[in-house]
Subunit: 358 residues, 2 copies
C-alpha cells in the first residue's frame, strides 16, 4: 500500500500546525532547516497571514551573556502572561562551539514551561543560507501564534548583520572589558542596533563603555550616519552584498538607548525588556515597522529567486556531458572560468522551466 | 579628447603585467577585489596559462601565530633564493579586527624585499565572495610568476574551509592552551588539513595537543573518514554548500604530519617549510594535484555561473515596475515569497541575454 503523498503529508502537517500542535511546529522548522523537498509548498500554506509577533534580535560577541539576558527577558514575559519563542542561532566557529553549548544548557529552567518554545539552530555549514532559514523559522513561530520571538545570535564575522534581517528590533550586547565599544563602531554594529546593552555591568569599565557608545552614537548622529556605513553599498556591482536591511534607516524620533544589565544577578532585565517593547511600539506607531517588513520581504524574495537560479545552474552543471572536459581545460589553463561560464549560461537559461522546490 | 576605452586600458594593464611590472599586478588584484567592470575580460587575458606556483594555505584560530609562521617560511624561502607572494585574508570579525592588524605590522621586515609580495585582504562585507576573490588573486600571483604563494587565513566561522579551496596544501595551525585539538576534530578542520602545526610549542600542553591530534587522525583513518565529514554533502538540495573542495580525498600515501613550532623563537620553521614542500611533491607525483586543480576549477566555474545568474536576477528585480506592489503583498501576508518568486523566474530567464562582466 503506498504511503501518503508529499502533498497529503504537507496538508496534514499544516492542519496540525494551525490547531497549535507543537510537534507540527517542530517538524515544520526541521523542514525549513533541512531544506527538505516540499518546504516551499508547506511555507506557502502556513505563512499566508499578516505578521503579528514582536521580533526581537539579541546579538553580541561570544561570552557577552546573551543567553542569560534572553532567558531573563523570556522569564519576565512569561510572568506577564505572554508566550515566548526563542531561536538561538549559533554560527559555530570551530573554536567557540563549546562555550555556547554551556550557555544553552543554562536555559534549561525554561525548557519545561509550555508557554515557551526554544529552538537552537546549529548552523555550521549553512552560512549564507543562515539568514534565510532564520527568517523563515521566525515566520513559522509567528504564524504558530507566538506573540514574542527572541532571536539570539552570536556575532561572528558578519553573521550578526545578516541576522538583523530576521528581527524588527535589534539589541547589541557588549561587555565592559573587551574593548568592544570601539570595535562595534568600526564594524557596522551601530547600523543594526536599536538599543545597546552593556552586560556584566558590575565589572570595571562598564560606565566607560556606556560613555564610549553614547559618544559614538552622538558622533554618528552628527554625521548623518556617514563614516560608519561605508561598508554597505559601496560596491554597486554586487548588490547582494550591499543589503539594504542592515543599514536600514531609523525613524527620526527613536533615540538609541544604552542600558546596563547584569544578567547573572538579574539586574536591569526589566528595563531591557521595557526598552525592547518601547522600540516595538515606536516602530508600530511611526510606520517604520511596515518599512522594515517590506525591506525584509524584498531581501527574502531576492534570496529565494537567486536560490532557485542557483539550483537550476547546479542541476545543469551536474548533468552536462561536456563539463569534465571543459573543467580539465580550465584546470590546465587552456580555457578560463569566465569564458566557459559565458558558453554555458545561454543553455542554463533556456533549459526546461519546471518549478523547483526550495 | 576621449580617454582610453576599458578594453585598451585592460590591454595595457595585461602588457605591463606580462613583463612583470608590480603596479600592474597590484592594480589587477584591486580590480578582482573590487569586482570592477571589465575584470572578467582582464582575467581572461591574464590567466590563460598552466598553473605553476606551489599554493600553500595556512589557517587557524586568531592568535595562533599564523603571521609569524608565514613570515618565517617566507624568510626561509627567500634565503633559498625563491620568490614568495603572501595573501593574508582577514574575515575581520568586529571583535578581532584589531589583533590582526598587529600581526600584519610584524610582517613589515619583509615588506622591503623585492622578492616578496604581500597583500592583505580585509574582507568584511564580502563574505561569500571571499573564496572566489582569493582564488583569483592567487591565480594572478601565479600568472605573474611567483613560484610560491602563501595564503594565510583566520579561521572564523567556516571561512577557513572555503579558503582551503585556494590552496593546494593546507596547514592548520593550533596552539596548546585553547583546547583547539578537540574542537578542530568537530569542526571539519581535519578534512582540509594536509598537515597540522602546534605553534607556541614551548608552552604547557603542546605535547598533549600533538598526541590528541594524532589520536584523532588515527581514529579518522580507522573510520574511513566517516563521522568527521558529516556536515559536508548532507543536504543534496543545496549543493553549493556541500562543496567537494574542503572534503577532498587525500592520495593514499600521504600521512598527515603533526609538527611543533615556536614561531616567536624561530624554532621548527625549517621543518614546517620542508613538510609543505614534501606535500607539494607528493601531490605532483601522485597525480593528486591535477585532481585538486580540477575540483577547484569546477567549484570556481559554479561560483562564476551562479554569480552571473544572481546579477541577472538583481538587475531584473531592480527594474521590475510591479515589484513594490508584490513586496508589499508579501510583507502583509497576501502573497508568499515562494509564490512571487515563481511568478518572476520565467521572466528573469527570458530577459535579454547580454553577457555581464564579473
Amino acid at each position: 500500500m503506498p504511503g501518503p503523498t508529499r502533498a497529503e503529508r504537507n496538508r496534514r502537517l499544516a492542519d496540525d500546525f494551525r490547531i497549535g500542535k507543537r510537534p507540527a511546529l517542530a517538524r515544520a522548522i526541521s523542514m525549513v532547516e533541512g531544506r527538505r523537498p516540499g518546504v516551499a509548498d508547506l511555507l506557502q500554506k502556513l505563512l499566508l497571514a499578516r505578521p503579528q509577533a514582536r521580533r526581537f534580535g539579541i546579538t553580541g560577541p561570544p561570552g557577552a551573556g546573551k543567553s542569560s539576558l534572553v532567558a531573563g527577558v523570556a522569564t519576565l514575559l512569561r510572568a506577564r502572561g505572554e508566550k515566548v519563542a526563542i531561536v538561538a542561532v549559533d554560527p559555530t566557529s570551530p573554536y567557540s562551539g563549546g562555550a555556547l553549548l554551556g550557555d544553552r544548557i543554562r536555559m534549561n529552567d525554561l525548557a519545561t514551561d509550555p508557554g515557551i518554545f526554544i529552538r537552537s539552530m546549529a548552523t555550521r555549514g549553512s552560512l549564507g543560507g543562515l539568514a534565510a532559514t532564520t527568517r523563515e523559522v521566525v515566520d513559522l513561530l509567528d504564524a504558530f501564534g507566538f506573540p514574542n520571538v527572541l532571536v539570539e545570535t552570536v556575532g561572528v564575522g558578519q553573521t550578526e548583520l545578516e541576522i538583523a534581517s530576521a528581527a524588527d528590533s535589534v539589541a547589541v550586547v557588549l561587555v565592559p572589558e573587551s574593548g568592544d565599544g570601539i570595535q562595534a563602531m568600526k564594524a557596522g554594529l551601530m547600523e543594526i542596533a536599536d538599543l545597546f546593552v552593556v552586560n556584566k555591568a558590575d565589572r570595571i569599565g562598564a560606565d566607560r563603555m556606556v560613555r564610549e557608545i553614547q559618544q559614538a552614537l552622538a558622533l554618528r548622529a552628527g554625521h548623518g550616519m556617514q563614516g560608519v556605513s561605508g561598508h554597505h553599498g559601496v560596491d554597486l556591482s554586487r548588490p547582494d552584498e550591499a543589503d539594504e536591511e542592515p543599514g536600514r534607516a531609523h525613524a527620526p524620533a527613536w533615540e538609541i538607548p544604552v542600558l546596563k544589565t547584569s544578567a547573572g544577578r538579574g539586574e536591569g532585565i526589566e528595563e531591557f525588556l521595557d526598552a525592547l517593547l518601547a522600540h516595538n511600539r515606536h516602530l508600530t506607531e511611526s510606520g517604520a515597522l511596515e518599512d522594515r517588513r517590506e525591506r525584509r520581504a524584498r531581501s527574502r524574495l531576492r534570496d529565494v529567486v537567486v536560490g532557485r537560479l542557483r539550483g537550476r545552474a547546479e542541476r545543469f552543471l551536474a548533468s552536462h556531458p561536456d563539463l569534465p572536459v571543459r573543467i580539465a581545460d580550465i584546470a590546465a589553463g587552456r580555457a578560463t572560468t569566465y569564458g566557459v561560464a559565458d558558453e554555458l549560461i545561454p543553455a542554463i537559461l533556456k533549459g526546461t522551466e519546471k518549478s523547483d522546490q526550495g
